[in-house]
């Protein structure tokens, strides 16, 4: 293993391990404060997630949405843009998929209806990504603020369209069902998953992860995107059209997050429900951070955070499930703190064996330059 590879692996894994340790201690303290035995609670969490087929199915279902939002945030960060808007892009994607599904005649077969709904979801999310992309490319407006503000605008708009636009079934927060565009559950092929929400959207998520990896590391656009993320001035001098790359990256990021809406709308419930996102967009930031903005890392991190979230339900008999929300925050904070710390420690380590080893480029580009 070359020193550079080793260094990259150390930089990637050490912060995560440190964060897990901190989260474990924080979790122990919370469990003890509730008068329970940590060992028993952690065992219950494992049993309720990876201990049976239903638990695994639920984890896979939750990981699917998180993989989309994590990929979305990662694509943005690779271009040096911090997309805090995955929450509303996810909602817009699910909403657009439902609108498309409701508009399509039911006699259209699922092989036509499902792709059209997925395309609508990508378009819906991409449209929400377009606004901060344009503001950044045209006016230099900071995308963090723009995406936060847009979250509220989009969620309020969807809420209005559901309530006043007559889309919601009376007395509910959801639309009519869209059975003709339903994505089958995993249980239809693997009966062990019976009862869980896991569905074939997970295949779309894996394809999306592979596609993002291929685009980022094997295409010209991906190269330009990463170049802009690492050094916009240098990229500009190298002939890359930086504003255009920002715009495309934000649209792509929004489209990926938007596609995640399909998991709930077509795969699980079969209708759009106001508020279905439930923070999965914000958790995408955590997924991208822990996954170090690499598609493979993002998929693994999505599984980790899905396990935590499902694990919360499993332990609820002993300790309030809100414990996992605290742990999610602790993990993110600890990773954010240990990433620069680990980098500093590794730099300080004497490197007699590799005198001229160049510093590995940071997988998390410095983003908020003000």
């Amino acid at each position: 293993m070359s020193p550079r590879t080793r260094r990259a692996i150390e930089e990637g894994l050490l912060p995560t391990l440190a964060a897990l340790l901190v989260a474990l201690v924080a979790g122990d303290l919370l469990i003890l404060s509730y008068g329970q035995a940590p060992g028993a609670v952690w065992r219950l969490m494992l049993d309720g997630t990876w201990g049976n087929a239903y638990g695994i199915g639920q984890v896979l279902y939750k990981a699917t949405t998180l993989a989309f939002t994590g990929l979305a945030v990662a694509v943005g960060l690779r271009a040096g843009l911090f997309n805090i808007g995955a929450e509303s892009q996810l909602a817009a994607g699910g909403f657009a998929a439902a609108l498309m599904g409701l508009a399509l005649p039911p006699l259209l077969g699922p092989w036509t209806a499902i792709p059209l709904c997925i395309a609508a979801a990508a378009a819906g999310g991409g449209l929400v990504g377009l606004v901060p992309g344009l503001l950044r490319a045209r006016f230099g407006a900071h995308e963090v603020i723009a995406t936060i503000m847009l979250n509220f605008v989009v969620l309020a708009f969807v809420n209005w369209a559901m309530a006043s636009g007559g889309l919601a079934v009376p007395e509910t927060l959801h639309t009519r069902a869209i059975p003709h565009a339903a994505i089958p559950r995993l249980a239809s092929a693997f009966p062990a998953f019976h009862g869980s929400a896991a569905n074939f959207t997970i295949v779309l998520a894996l394809v999306a992860a592979a596609a993002v990896a291929w685009i980022l590391f094997r295409t010209r656009f991906g190269y330009e995107l990463r170049a802009v993320g690492l050094q916009p001035e240098a990229a500009e001098n190298g002939g890359i059209r930086v504003p255009r790359t920002w715009l495309l990256a934000m649209v792509a990021s929004g489209a990926i997050a938007g596609m995640g809406g399909v998991n709930f709308v077509l795969g699980y419930k079969g209708y759009f429900e106001d508020g279905f996102t439930g923070g999965a967009g914000f958790l995408g930031i955590a997924v991208a951070l822990v996954g170090r903005n690499h598609p493979l890392g993002v998929v693994l991190a999505a599984l980790f955070f899905a396990t935590l979230s499902q694990g919360g339900l499993a332990i609820h008999a002993l300790v309030p499930k809100q414990m996992v929300e605290v742990l999610e925050g602790v993990v993110i904070l600890a990773v954010a703190m240990s990433v620069p710390e680990v980098r500093r420690l590794l730099q300080r380590r004497p490197r007699a064996a590799t005198p001229a080893a160049p510093a590995a480029p940071s997988p998390v580009p410095a983003t908020a330059d003000g």
Partner: protein, 294 residues
């Protein structure tokens, strides 16, 4: 529109604006020192919960106020530890802190009061039964809230500490070379921003005499919008808070008439901020070193 109605709207505006004013003052202070303030929402929520615990166990609104501010200072210190000591990405740290505080308040709501939605009734400002205007004007937090932006303007623009805050927010290297302890100034600014924003949470909890799950409901982000819309100037940000609060108060009054859907009124602060960001009504330019990790 009659005089009585105007009076009601005026009073509503003040009541809605107070938490914004506190949180936005914290936002201005931290961001002028160069640290991104996405955690205002968490500071407020933590302050509201601390105030509720203090008022419940201490039996008075003042005990609540003290506990709420202490919670905010503590959360501010955690944010400073992450952003200043460890050089964590400030946006990530803010998002994490918000998430963590929501979880912590829910967890300890269950632990302390056995409820997943709200605390029991606690002491607060404004005596029992004195409805409306009198109770509001008897609330010391109202006057503190109205004074906070002018005071902050004086501190930031006219004092030695304020000069240092602006220096570390604009040109930390230059400040460093002149002997300004950049890290220490940022620590102070971020901790103080936690306490200030927490006062906004105290107002909510002590005004409603209880804590309810996620009772800040995005107010920290409206305050952040006011900071940006006010171009990081304390008085301008204060005016933005009042403007946003006025729009909300107006909306509450016209609710019955269905003139404008409430969702569109709730968009006003965010849309205005987007427009300001685009530079269509005078460009919003942040402090030069805002968000820079080192």
């Amino acid at each position: 529109m009659g005089d009585a109605m105007l009076g009601v709207i005026f009073l509503q505006t003040l009541r809605i604006a107070v938490p914004y004013l506190f949180a936005a003052s914290g936002g201005v202070l931290a961001e002028r020192a160069g640290v991104v303030s996405l955690a205002l929402e968490g500071f407020m929520l933590g302050g509201a919960f601390g105030a509720t615990l203090g008022a419940y166990y201490g039996g008075s609104a003042w005990a609540g106020l003290a506990a709420g501010v202490a919670a905010g200072l503590l959360l501010g210190a955690i944010h400073a530890l992450a952003c200043v000591r460890f050089g964590a990405n400030q946006i990530v740290a803010g998002v994490a802190l918000n998430l963590m505080v929501v979880g912590l308040t829910r967890f300890f709501l269950r632990l302390a009061f056995g409820s997943s939605s709200n605390s029991p009734r606690v002491a607060g400002f404004g005596g029992e039964g004195t409805a409306g205007a009198l109770a509001t004007f008897a609330n010391p937090l109202l006057w503190l809230g109205l004074a906070v932006m002018p005071v902050l303007a004086f501190v930031v623009l006219r004092t030695r500490f304020g000069l240092r805050v602006r220096a570390v927010g604009e040109k930390p290297e230059a400040a460093e070379s002149l002997g300004v302890p950049v890290g220490r100034v940022r620590w102070l600014a971020v901790i103080a921003s936690g306490g200030l924003a927490a006062l906004g949470g105290c107002w909510l909890a002590l005004d409603q005499h209880q804590f309810t799950d996620q009772m800040t409901a995005g107010r920290g982000f409206i305050a952040l919008a006011a900071v940006i819309f006010g171009r990081w100037e304390p008085v301008r940000a204060g005016v933005a808070c009042l403007l946003f609060a006025f729009a909300e108060a107006l909306q509450i009054q016209v609710q019955g008439t269905n003139a404008i859907p409430s969702q569109f009124v709730s968009m006003i602060p965010y849309v205005l901020t987007l427009v300001a960001l685009a530079g269509l009504v005078g460009k919003s330019v942040p402090p030069a070193a805002l968000g820079r990790e080192r």
